[in-house]
């Protein structure tokens, strides 16, 4: 027997050694945060989901060290914590990119173009589902319905909304992310990293100036019924933030604050079809790769 079971990647009953602890300064800081989270609940175990978000904000994924920390703080076993951490899809179990790009491929978004977008991004980035680009910037995955079907097809980056995407706009989006440009969603705040997002999910408010206000009160599709009810003739137009699809004159300026990345394209003139298809941005002028 020259190779041990662990060297062969097979565990034959020898328990793994306990995970190493965080460095003292990190642990002290996380303990302060953890105590604040635990104090929000009548029963400490309720803090487990936010604590897993917290350790994810430290390392970018949930490590054995992080799970041991959660177990220590809540007086649980690491087995109990692992059982929970592996149940929920938002907890990553291996190192991943700064930006998690999730393409909705549930039925409605898939049909409306999500499948085409996901396929094109895999080819464009050279990665498969759940994989990360070599530069460590983008992790691509397909996601389930994200409650934005009236903005389909939808792409989420670090759980901010990028509505009404096309193959072209999605490619440009990931290129911008990899190139280090500041990218703003259609609904949500200018992007922060995945780790910073995880801290908000742990229950620590986003302190960045303007983060709560960003992108205004509501997206255009959220307002179509309200405008019809008021007798305003045309429903809201989608002014696409990242795509040069045909636009109408932006009637919804009051609610739509253009992001820095937004530009009005040369197709601004109203078109016959857009009158009856107002909330759908048109597709790209020329679909790449077709």
């Amino acid at each position: 027997m020259s190779t041990s079971s662990s060297e062969r990647g097979v565990s034959l009953g020898m328990p793994e050694l306990p995970a190493p602890d965080y460095p003292d300064d990190v642990r002290a800081r996380l303990e302060r945060d953890a105590r604040e989270i635990i104090a929000r609940y009548p029963d400490s175990r309720s803090a487990l989901l936010p604590l897993l978000h917290l350790v994810q904000s430290e390392e970018g994924h949930v490590t054995r060290t992080g799970m041991r920390f959660c177990a220590d703080m809540l007086d649980l076993t690491t087995a109990e914590v692992t059982a929970v951490a592996t149940f929920y899809t938002m907890y990553r179990r291996r190192p991943s990119g700064d930006y998690q790009v999730g393409v909705c491929t549930n039925t409605l978004c898939a049909v409306m173009g999500g499948d085409a977008i996901f396929e094109a991004l895999q080819e464009h980035l050279g990665v498969g589902n759940g994989e990360t680009t070599d530069d460590g910037k983008v992790t691509l995955e397909h996601i389930e319905c994200n409650a934005a079907c009236d903005f389909a097809p939808v792409v989420m980056v670090n759980w901010e909304f990028f509505d009404n995407q096309t193959v072209d706009s999605a490619k440009r989006l990931v290129d911008d992310l990899r190139g280090g440009a500041q990218v703003a969603p259609t609904r949500g705040a200018p992007l922060c990293t995945f780790k910073e997002t995880a801290r908000i999910l742990a229950g620590f408010p986003d302190e960045r100036a303007g983060a709560v206000e960003a992108t205004g009160s509501a997206g255009p599709a959220s307002l179509v019924g309200l405008r019809l009810a008021r007798g305003e003739t045309a429903p809201a137009r989608v002014v696409h933030p990242r795509e040069g699809g045909p636009h109408d004159e932006p009637q919804d300026r009051a609610v739509h604050e253009p992001s820095p990345a937004e530009h009005l394209s040369s197709h601004d003139a109203p078109q016959d079809t857009s009158a009856s298809d107002p909330a759908h941005p048109a597709g790209p002028v020329a679909e790449e790769g077709e």
């Binding site: 079907c149 509501a218 599709a221």
Partner: protein, 449 residues
Amino acid sequence: MTLAPELKDMSPEKLLAPVLSAFWDEDRSWTLDVYRRHEGYEGLRKALAMSPDDLIAYVKDSGLRGRGGAGFPTGMKWQFIPQGDGKPHYLVVNADESEPGTCKDIPLLFANPHSLIEGMIIACYAIRSSHAFIYLRGEVVPVLRRLHSAVAEAYAAGYLGKNILGSGLDLDITVHAGAGAYICGEETALLDSLEGRRGQPRLRPPFPAVAGLYACPTVVNNVESIASVPAILKNGKEWFRSMGSEKSPGFTLYSLSGHVASPGQYEAPLGITLRQLLEMSGGMRPGHRLKFWTPGGSSTPMFTDEHLDVPLDYEGVGAAGSMLGTKALQCFDETTCVVRAVTRWTEFYAHESCGKCTPCREGTYWLVQLLRDIEAGKGVMSDLDKLNDIADNINGKSFCALGDGAASPIFSSLKYFREEYEQHITGRGCPFDPAKSTAWADHRTEVNA
């Protein structure tokens, strides 16, 4: 009152009734200032002037029913909480909106979070609770930011904390972000998740009203149900009952999506029809016709163009063989392959099945295998009966409604579109071109011209 006299008048001003969405287009609509400018927290003052029991009776009399899918009367849920039992009581708001097609609570919380907070304070006063939770799905960080901000504003203004508005009511609200699991929208799985466990449904009874969060009496309500309460208090139950029907009174958010000209949120009295919504909003996308649609998310049996005039209230949709659900009206036109749609939904249910009940865990897995084969042209005719049989073995045989939801698209698509399944089998493949279904399918030629 019924909607019948209004059916002839198709003008949107008459058919729609924006209440929760009435000021979503205003600058900073999510803030306390704007909410108060629209008589926000006035309903709370009226509620606090009543006794808790009278308040419960008032909400019950209004006829408000749950907007999260099942349609259970909200006031009755509150009434089930045992009083004087010496245990803490909890209110848990289900903001885990994840049902495919459903997209109403997220824009509501993004644009108007204070309507939920005010409703929660009223509900907690009624059920004698001093700690409430908002269980928000984690994948919506923009909404999480606004909830953090709105709760902080409410504390600063004295609507939360100790002795609210001098009433003696103490209340804390904790905003809790989930971590990605559809099953946590099921109320008992949600409670397990909020207790820091895997989100798996519990056997009932006991119901949450008796043994819910930490085994204490707990009310679990959908976001829209609770957010509707302040308007009922402010404007009166008669006002609320003047909309909709006897058994389904009031207003609600309808979410139109898919191959329609104007997808979006439409707030209207219960009982409006899809035909009315489509006619006022520009119909299907130009040159196409409606093929199939869901009245309330993927778990509600699908409808076809035969059902355009079904009144979209609890009784109307139920009588037509489906469920009102979340009023998520996903509309698909004739370019869409129903087998592809159902396969994708079934993959979703298989992925999201928590694994607790064997019929759901195993059944959804085998449904996916069969459907993938059929879609790829590798199915045989007997597979169709097998699909039906497996769905029948899931339906009603699991702890929670996820299994029933998984069976719905199978049953209903086989009922209305069996021929299309057969085409996939006899034709050895899918006869549809997915490119024609995309949002940009019809624009390319015009733009290139």
